[in-house]
Chain length 663, copies 2
């Protein structure tokens, strides 16, 4: 074993955050902090110093911040990220001979020992720092060295030697000849804020026509923008807008055959009219689509497109690139299957084709095409059925040029697969929230998502319903169930979304008992939604989205904490800003049938509250105000009125009279 340099003495290990030994980046949005911790120590008893190094990937130069020891050889440092793209960070540590000398001199002096030789040793260390110092500091250091070498003035020499001023000066010019640099450079992907905080509304453009039974168009969607904006959403997500295949086109209720005039599924992409870069003619033109993108922006809405990498048998790819599909011994192209089920209207791409490289490049151009139309958010359909290497490459390529692009992974699959896709670069991910109804399972799942390493790379996007999923609870629970799921999604997650107008109109008829498919699913037919129905949830949705916009704690997933309630039907959690200044407390009755009551228990001191002082809770849903005192307080919620409280807690903090009451 060959050792290049035996005098390197510091050790850096157990660095956090660090995903899979640095294989993957952590995620942040602009303005957020990266707090880095590590075990740092050296042999013996010398003082150790450490710095956190960070830079934007486009800069060659590192910036440095000092790391501070916590306890048990654990150190911490932090930096903030301000620009989109990738950052890098790593650490450096070294034995600090001057720090050791100064600490030991203090002890010797305190013990009344003779220190003249020690002062000479200090002078030597100071002199060695001179060549590393700026011109001005070098002259200060030379003066210190002269002082320490004087043969008279003992007490003053010691005072100078132990001074904070000298400590600070020397700390600026440490001797790092034998410093340890951490073996890995770790990456941060920095996204824009919407990657962290977003409210999605999904609608089928073809169902927006004012004419009953008519085929909606981009122009009709434009007319719907004020409505979506009034609801308070900021992302308007459209299922695929491309020409729909004719071969084996699905009919109503997923029928394997369709009659003439049935519109088919938007996910059956591609026909003689074009493929992934074309617009379904009944929706309008590409120009209409661009117009919609611009019009949406004026309403504070961003259009998100669906990218579903699969082809209908009519897709131009099937003719132009037969090699991208698998062929059966009988010469036919292999359609999608989940044996014994067959999906003859879909040809999956064969990612094991020898032409994979050409196919990857073409699929990349699909994204680039829509980016050219000013789309910057994509919902990716079933990413877990395409190879991981493909996504890592594709997302890397896109974000290298367009770091503002946001990709939502629609992978409802096994947990490790979902997490792996997030690690590869997806900005947001669908979650199991959709099926988590009980307190225990919500608590466990969201603790895992927000209080473990998962939080560093996986940004949950919570959907109470989707065009594919009408949960049992929504089928059975009426408007209380819709409100419960709305409040949970909107307050547990910084990002959430609903499939509307099915959601606000509380569409809840399943295809058949036990099925999560909608009866007369919009996936296979045009729907006439009466968005002005009197019982619509639009009012409460608008209120919830306003609360989200106005309260910082609801805009990130950090600092989610669950609190005990002595009733399993009531769930209670808080979200706070890092400084605890803004504090939101949510209590939800998970039972859509019955009134439930219980005692909530809050860790007041940990929430930054004075346990002896009364605090006011302002229910942002109803505007009611409550005065609470002490950690245990009573709550009662009737699902048929409103199944949740979303409280802003107003309390004194800091100096007398300074409160977080900013209304």
């Amino acid at each position: 074993m060959v050792v290049e340099e035996g005098r390197v003495r510091a050790v850096i290990e157990s660095v956090r955050p660090e995903i899979d030994c640095g294989r993957f980046a952590i995620k942040r949005t602009t303005g957020e902090k990266v707090v880095v911790e590590a075990d740092i120590f050296a042999d013996g008893h010398d003082v150790v110093s450490a710095r956190l190094l960070h830079r934007h990937a486009q800069n060659a130069e590192w910036s440095e911040v000092p790391m501070e020891p916590l306890v048990n050889d654990r150190w911490r440092g932090e930096f903030a990220v301000y620009e989109l793209g990738q950052y890098r960070y790593t650490l450096q540590a070294w034995v600090d001979h001057f720090g050791t000398w100064q600490r030991d001199l203090g002890k010797r002096v305190e013990a009344g020992q003779e220190v003249s030789v020690d002062l000479l040793m200090g002078a030597q260390l100071v002199e060695e720092a001179v060549p590393r110092a700026s011109e001005a500091d070098a002259s200060l250091l030379r003066q210190y060295a002269r002082d320490l070498r004087m043969e008279t003035g003992g007490a003053e020499r010691v005072r100078r030697a132990l001074s904070e001023d000298l400590r600070g000066l020397m700390a600026r010019y440490p001797d790092r000849s034998f410093a340890t640099t951490y073996s890995r450079e770790l990456a941060v992907v920095v996204d824009r804020e919407r990657a962290r905080f977003s409210s999605w509304y999904e609608l089928f453009p073809r169902s927006t026509s004012p004419k009953p039974g008519g085929h909606g168009s981009f122009k009709d969607v434009e007319a719907r923008l004020p409505y979506v904006a009034e609801l308070g959403f900021d992302v308007l997500y459209l299922p695929p807008i491309h020409p729909i295949g004719r071969a084996f086109r699905k009919g109503r209720n997923n029928s394997p055959t369709s009659s003439e005039g049935e519109p088919g599924s938007p996910w059956g992409i591609g026909s003689v009219q074009g493929g992934h870069k074309s617009v379904h003619p009944q929706l309008g033109t590409l120009e209409d689509f661009r117009h919609l993108v611009v019009a949406a922006r004026a309403w504070g809405l961003e259009i998100a497109l669906d990218i579903a990498f699969q082809s209908s048998p009519d897709h131009p790819y099937a003719q132009a690139h037969p090699g991208w599909f698998r062929h059966r011994p009988d010469g036919t192209i292999q359609y999608a299957e989940n044996p014994p089920k067959k999906y003859q209207d879909i040809y999956p791409f064969d990612f094991e084709t020898e032409q994979w490289r050409e196919m990857w490049e073409e699929l990349k151009t699909v994204f680039l095409f829509w980016i050219d139309q000013d789309v910057r958010i994509f919902r990716v359909d079933n990413p877990h059925t395409k190879p991981y290497r493909f996504w890592e490459w594709l997302i890397g390529e896109i974000k290298a040029t367009y770091p503002e692009v946001i990709l939502l992974s629609e992978a409802f699959t096994r947990p490790k697969v979902m997490y792996h896709l997030a690690k590869l670069g997806f900005s947001q991910s669908y979650t199991y929230f959709t099926w988590r109804n009980e307190k225990r399972e919500l608590t466990e799942y969201f603790t895992e998502l927000t209080r473990t390493e998962v939080e560093e790379f996986f940004r949950p996007n919570l959907w109470p319903n989707t065009p594919d999923i009408l949960t049992e609870q929504l089928q059975q629970g009426g408007s209380p169930a819709f409100m419960i799921r709305l409040v949970l999604a909107a307050t547990l997650g910084a990002s959430y979304g609903i499939y509307g107008p099915a959601f606000e109109l509380m569409e809840n008829r399943p295809k058949e008992p036990g099925s999560e498919e909608y009866l007369d699913s919009e996936k296979y037919e045009i729907k006439d939604w009466d968005i002005d129905r009197a019982d619509s949830l639009r009012g409460v949705i608008a209120r919830v989205n306003r609360i989200r916009r106005e309260n910082l704690p609801l805009q990130s997933n950090r600092n989610l904490r669950f609190h005990p309630v002595d009733n399993d039907q009531l769930i209670c959690y808080s979200k706070a800003t890092d400084d605890l200044f803004d504090l939101i407390l949510v209590v939800v009755n998970l039972d859509y049938r019955w009134r439930q009551s219980g005692w909530v228990e809050l860790p007041l001191e940990e929430l930054g509250m004075d346990p002896d002082q009364t605090y006011q809770l302002h229910d942002l849903l109803t505007d009611a105000r409550y005065l609470w005192h002490g950690p245990r307080n009573y709550v009662e919620l009737d699902p048929h009125q409103l199944p949740a409280h979303v409280f802003r807690i107003r309390r004194r903090i800091g100096k007398e009279g300074e409160t977080n009451d900013y209304e």
Copy 2:
């Protein structure tokens, strides 16, 4: 981003064991297993196969064992290590097209679908395997392919296609063209059994003279061998045996000055009579030492030496290599300090010297010298005050040639430093056991040592006392305290040691109240121990060591489990072999003053016991036998009789009449 091969689809991550991303090896002894787990999955729904690859570092060829899926994409495989030295392991996974095809075919057949084209696809996969197969298997495969391609005999063809035989044949020749190989090769250091299971006895050779006040010698130690063997130990560890310095020699009770004739501390190494490769003349000659090593072996004892890398001012190194020490501005050599304390009798080596390489090489020859005298176990003094790189290099160099060498790290310091030294290669480590007296702290500490990743690299060696440490409990608790600490050390740890004869003679006088130093410490003077004293603990120590030798569960640290007792003064734990066949249950009264009683609660099923059957507990300390029934049973222990039970549990397992009662 350039992707070399886009068709690699499997992912391997979260591999365990893996220490610090593979930076360090795990440890095993010959005959032990390495159980490896990993998350393994691919995109989509295809069947995945995985293998665990392993080899001795000296072999170029990998051996392979299949990995089996557990739940949630977790896989497991294992291999055993039989040879000393280093092993490597890694993993491979791939999408198994034949496995996928066979699974899907089964589903299609079950659904009554037409499968003739599918059989042709299977035939193709079988034909592709032919070139990978042995000659005999190739001809079997060709026959299968012909069968599958036949145009008649549908049911028989399907039966052949789905056969276990074909599955097994194909599994032997998988297509690994696009297999994923895990990015790291992980290391296992394989030691001999004594690295895992050892019982140490420390004595000062100079205190073994039969003549009162006389200076003991290696010959006297030889005469003591039957005694140490009777006690049941297998490692006899001697403090440094080298010439002791004269400059600033310490006197009795650590006095900074000594009178003529005082022997000084054995750790003040080096004089005109020699240094680390010489023998203190009063102990005898090198020839005498070699004789001792051989004689000890006949008694089942192995001599362990103390390696303390420091010099007295008289050490030949100080004259021959002044550059290996730090010099002060006044020209003197820097002695050891922990300001304001000064240790003028010790010169530490300056590991930041420019001559570090030459010094490292010389220090290595110290080990090699004693290895040449047939010593294979070393207790390394204060390793945490020398650089980590030095130890990693040194241990690597030594064990490359002498993989049977065992090194015990004497680092009583901060936890992360202790763990790091173990990771660097020390075979065993001193622990905080010495100061852990209460149930909660023993439970927490030993859970950390035995049930976490720490168990993979840190082998605890438990010492109730050392020449430096007489704990408060031993000072105050009389023989009950010594027995409590003995039983805990010998049953909580597969390796433990005592400093004798101080231990068995219950030497418990501190230098002063509040000090852990012995009064009249043997470190600074010759002691006359009356090993035949009537109250000596030699009998119980011999019994405990016999119990350890005869019961496999006490010979490893795995499978230590703590069990509840409703009395905080009683601690209860079990140790079992991996197959649960041998089961030891220990109950200790931690209170050396009072009789304590309580109810022990055992998880019978997890311990492999039938909850409905009575089981017998054989107390191996007293030979008493008890019949217990059910999970909760009563225990009462009087520290003034015997403060512990060490039970062997005898119960029926497996077939009627087959028990683990082998007495």
